[in-house]
Structures are given as C-alpha cells and as structure tokens.
Symmetry: C2
Amino acid sequence: MQYGGGSKWIAVIFMKKNKSNRLSKPVMPQETTRKLAETFKVLGDPTRTRIIYALSMEELCVCDIAGLLGAEQSVVSHQLRVLRNMNLVKYRRDGRVVYYSLDDEHIKNLFDECLRHVNML
Amino acid sequence: MQYGGGSKWIAVIFMKKNKSNRLSKPVMPQETTRKLAETFKVLGDPTRTRIIYALSMEELCVCDIAGLLGAEQSVVSHQLRVLRNMNLVKYRRDGRVVYYSLDDEHIKNLFDECLRHVNML
DNA sequence: TGTATGTATGAACATACGTACATATATTAT
DNA sequence: ATAATATATGTACGTATGTTCATACATACA
C-alpha cells in the first residue's frame, strides 16, 4: 500500500482509508464486471466485429455474411453461435436460410461510442 | 451465395447485388474494424475491466489499484501497460508514485452503454 | 426417396493471452 | 552511498481462443 509500513502514523492513515470505503471493498460487484468483460471480449474479435457491423445495417443470412466478410461459412457459423450465446444477435429461420439480426439497439450505441474513441466518427 | 448457381437468372441477380454495394465490398473499412475490435478486446478482460471501472471513479496509483482488486502489483502493472498502449488511460508521476486515470470520457460512456445491455443499470 | 443447398457442430491444431515469479529501474530517505 | 519503496518489465507456463477440415443436420426440390 502507498507509503504503508513506514511509521505508526502512516499505518493509521492507511486504516482510515480502508474504512472510508476506498481500499477495503471492491469498486464494483465482481459479477457485474465479469458480465461486462465477457460482453466486451465477445466484441473484441475482428470477425465478430465485422459481423455485428454488417448486421447493424440489415438483417442477413449466414451465407451473405460469409460473402461480405470473405470468410468461410463455418467460421461465420461458429462466431454467430458465440454472439447468440451472449444475446447479441437473434435469428429466424425461413426455409433452409437462417437470418440474423442484432438483438437490441445497445450494441449499435456501443459501436458508435467506441468509434468516437478511436476517432473514426 | 444464397441460391446462387441455380440458373442464369439467379446469376444475374447475384451480379446486380454485387454491384449495388451490398455483397461486393466489405461493409466497413477493415482498418476501422480492426481498431474497434482491438479496443473491445482490451476492455474484455476482467482485470482490466475492474481497473477501468476503478479509474472511472477517481485517479489511483498502482498500489491502490492492486489493493482494490486484491491483485498482485505485477499483474496490475502489466495490464496498465496494455491500457496505456491503447490510449485508454493516462498517467502522471508524483515522486515514486504513478497515478493513473482515464484518458477520455468515451470509455465511461462505453461502460454505461454496456451496462445497459447486461441489464445492470 | 434421393439429391442439393444452407447451416451447425465436433475435433484438432496453432497461436494468443493472462498470470506468477524474478528482477530491473526510479525515486526518496537515512 | 545504501536501503527502502513504488513501479515496470522479461520469461516461462498453462490455458483460452479462432480457424480449418470434416461431417452432421435440416429443409427444399425433383
């Protein structure tokens, strides 16, 4: 701890800080941080990022996504499952074609906010 | 491509879609998507998420962050470097203590938006 | 019923990544 | 100058992760 263990006075200060809810208890419930991190992690893969972005434009089927990304169908399918499991995308089946779209509008906002950060908006 | 290769008519349709800027060119510059994904990935680790969240409250030195997270100093230091490299945090030195804080306000917005998604706000 | 098409999934592999441990650097105090 | 404290960094290691290839499943069509 900062300057801790130097003298008794310092030790007292350290204890005060501990009691003042700064150093003793974690800033945020670990459960919440875990979910946050998990969501960010899912968005943190180039393939998935591009899929999400494509879906932010329009509903698309798996093969169209693969075409857009120039990726193999199996890659897209695998990653769509990841996005599905995180409730980031939803899907509907029409015959043998499965159409995917974004699950809620928060993701688009996330993207825009992140774009602002990387100075691309 | 969807229903492609069936007949010449279908092939024509496919070519039209290709020219209409839907299937031919990628939805977003790969450079931009790469940066986006990189940023999300950096936020997608529980340790870094907790660091960012702590810093969203107040400026903190390395040892205080380590105390808050119950993590080793070296772990925090390593992850702070990652955050530094992505321009997510900035720092200032005061004696032998280095204080870290968020680099811009977009990150807080990112967090809030993500919290809304995981239904915690 | 059999074939073709669209999608999902399993296994294997290479690689990326987070952490722990040791150690180096920087600054302050004695 | 030496010791102590705060931080940074290098290495090693176990694990997680994305992709590839093969294959299974589901639906439409002949």
